[in-house]
């Protein structure tokens, strides 16, 4: 990077900020000078204008267009070929299966470990530090996390000393080192481990806050009744944090469905590890199969939808009970 490059970049940022400030200033100017007649209407419209413009251009129109593209081939004719491809080609089916494996494992394990950890460290000394340790991966990018774990999974052939922790353990117990990332199906499982490593902290923080919200009278009453810790956990804590459990589980499920960075960085979807979001990128932007990519994006949307509907329903019921 030369000094001129750096100056160019700084200039870009300054210009960008200046233009942005000018746009906001102009909007506020027009808001305050709105005509007296229907004043609130105009002001509302101007306050909403930039956000609505962005959302319509960036989300609404593209979502509609992608839904249409999913039913077109590369020459723009209407067809179901993209979906036929998705549900008949072995590679594409494998992508769908892998996505289900991800969703079946990552959310439940992250939530379970996060919950156990939150319960175990609750009200303990050093709780803050225990939390930070598990929570830190949230601030690390999926790419960074992938490199961290790529190092753990590193493989050295022959008699060379293993520098990856996992193979070193295998060798220490007398096993043969494994090329983890090239070996199906263990490679998908090991990729899921990375996701669990990232998401457990999120689950732990939310559930820990929820546990602290369970009224202590209830716990004490159960104690007086002579229940043991497990019974109290099952019958007092879990019902008390049910709403948070659902939120955590569904949020991680959605994040898992959309997982892209980990697969892209670790294997780029090779060795039978591809998932829907990665395949969508590969098809639409690497293989120029826009129709197939759009169909995969649409499928992703269809997968996400029931989870969100369930989530909203549970939250609404909870609110009614209260």
């Amino acid at each position: 990077m030369t000094t001129a490059d750096l100056l160019g970049k700084i200039l870009q940022v300054v210009m960008g900020l200046a233009v942005f400030a000018a746009v906001v200033g102009l909007l506020i100017f027009f808001i305050d000078k709105a005509p007296k007649k229907g004043r609130d209407y105009w002001q509302l419209a101007l306050f909403l204008l930039p956000a609505m413009l962005f959302v319509v251009i960036g989300l609404v129109y593209p979502a509609i267009r992608t839904s249409l593209l999913a039913f077109q081939n590369n020459s723009g004719e209407w067809t179901f070929d993209n979906f036929i491809w998705m549900f008949t080609q072995p590679a594409a089916i494998r992508t769908l299966i892998n996505t289900f494996i991800w969703v079946a494992l990552a959310p439940i394990i992250s939530t379970a470990i996060g919950l156990a950890y939150a319960v175990f460290i609750d009200k303990s000394r050093g709780e803050k530090y225990y939390k930070v340790i598990l929570f830190m991966p949230i601030a690390i990018s999926f790419v960074g996390a992938s490199v961290i774990w790529k190092f753990v999974y590193e493989y050295r052939s022959g008699d060379r000393e293993q520098i990856g922790l996992l193979n070193a353990i295998v060798v220490a117990f007398g096993g043969e080192p494994v090329q983890w990332m090239q070996t199906d199906p263990i490679n998908t499982i090991l990729l899921i481990v990375i996701m669990i490593w990232i998401q457990t902290g999120f689950a732990m923080v939310l559930l820990s806050a929820a546990i602290k919200g369970v009224p202590s009278e209830q716990v004490e009453a159960a104690q007086l009744d002579g229940t043991n810790a497990w019974q109290r956990f099952r019958n007092v804590t879990v019902p008390g944090i049910r709403g948070s459990l659902v939120v955590v589980f569904t949020t991680i499920s959605i994040a898992t469905l959309k997982v892209f960075d980990i697969v892209r960085t670790m294997t780029a979807g090779n060795f039978d590890t591809s998932v829907v979001a990665n395949e969508m990128y590969t098809q639409a932007f690497r293989a120029s199969e826009v129709g197939r990519g759009s169909a995969l994006a649409l499928i992703l949307f269809v997968f996400v939808l029931p989870i969100i509907i369930y989530n909203v329903n549970v939250l609404r019921k909870q609110r009614e009970i209260r």
Binding site: M1, K9, V13, D40, G126, A139, W197, L206, V290
Partner: protein, 331 residues
């Protein structure tokens, strides 16, 4: 009772202390219950210690390795550091400052990441706050439906937007970027504009929702009083609403900052991948793919890429957690 708890496990001690106090209030003298509880708390302590260690080891191993000389990284495990000692800063010097064409030259990419993240966060924040103010405080018939609609947009996966948005950008934004380049030649043709806009577009629904929750909680009296005094909506927004909403703005700003900084997908599609624009995550992913064996560079580069969000995270952790709780429990 605390003297019984093992001293080397501070967490168990704390648990025992807490429970002793609790028991003294509720059921003094129930010895059997006390013993049972201590046993469970000891298992709990061990399990949570094991989890904590498991979660730390991978990052720790990478950090240790990033300070080891290349030949040691590639021939010995990092856990043998005491048998094979060696410390160097060369890896960091190489990935950050070396200008040889084979080195990753991360400096330029860090500048890109900062430029992308700061501006994208600011745009999202201001536009979202304006929309949230309108939704919360300007009464109009359809406004609630519009708000629910914007809220619902969160369910659209990013992947649904990418292809059409890229088409829009290449048809409309590219000419403008070229025009900018013609007027101010120092600005490259590939510039940050598409990334700023894309990140703002994708971040807005959640931002509007979170800020609306907060801004609608501002006491109506304050707004009304300002109106009576003749303040315009523009003045109310800048002088009253924004200052009062600072905690919420801070929470979301951290969110958006970390989210944008850590993004790979949006960068892959809208950045063009050159040193002029691409963020550090994109560079790191590229290195992991093409030079997956250069561990002396990968380890150092990975740490360079995660250190800034970690600093932001640790220094503003309280806001971050608060934002997370508000977002997840209300959503």
């Amino acid at each position: 009772m605390s003297s019984v708890a093992p001293a080397e496990l501070p967490i168990g001690k704390a648990l025992a202390d807490g429970e002793a106090a609790e028991l003294a209030e509720t059921q003094p003298g129930s010895k059997a219950a006390r013993v049972k509880k201590r046993l469970t708390s000891r298992t709990a302590t061990i399990v949570s210690l094991v989890i904590a260690v498991l979660w730390t080891i991978p990052t720790f191993g990478l950090l240790v390795s990033s300070f080891r000389p290349a030949e040691l990284i590639n021939t010995t495990g990092w856990w043998t550091i005491f048998q094979n000692p060696g410390f160097t800063l060369d890896n960091y010097a190489d990935v950050l400052f070396s200008s040889s064409s084979s080195s990753p030259q991360l400096g330029a990419y860090i500048v890109n990441s900062i430029a992308i993240t700061v501006v994208a966060t600011l745009i999202t924040l201001v536009f979202a706050a304006m929309a949230a103010y309108a939704f919360a405080w300007i009464k109009f018939k359809w406004v609630n439906w519009l708000f629910i609609f914007v809220f619902a947009l969160q369910i659209i996966p990013l992947q649904m937007s990418l292809v059409p948005l890229l088409q829009i950008f290449s048809n409309w934004l590219r000419p403008m970027q070229a025009w900018l380049h013609d007027i101010v030649p120092i600005i490259p043709e590939q510039n940050y504009l598409p990334l700023w806009l894309a990140h703002a577009m994708f971040g807005l629904p959640l931002a509007i929702f979170l800020l609306h929750n907060f801004i609608s909680d501002i006491p109506a009296d304050i707004i009304e009083a300002a109106k009576v005094d003749g303040a315009t909506h523009g003045q109310i927004f800048f002088r009253i609403v924004l200052p009062l909403a600072t905690p919420a703005l801070a929470s979301f700003a951290i969110f958006q900052f970390i989210w944008v900084w850590n993004d790979l997908l949006v960068a892959l599609i809208f950045s063009g991948g050159t040193q002029d624009v691409a963020p550090i995550t994109q560079r790191l992913a590229e290195m992991a793919g093409t030079r997956g064996q250069d561990w002396e560079r990968l380890t150092a580069a990975a740490f360079v890429s995660i250190v800034i969000p970690l600093i932001v995270f640790f220094s503003l952790q309280r806001y971050f957690v608060r934002g997370l709780l508000a977002g997840a429990t209300k959503g």
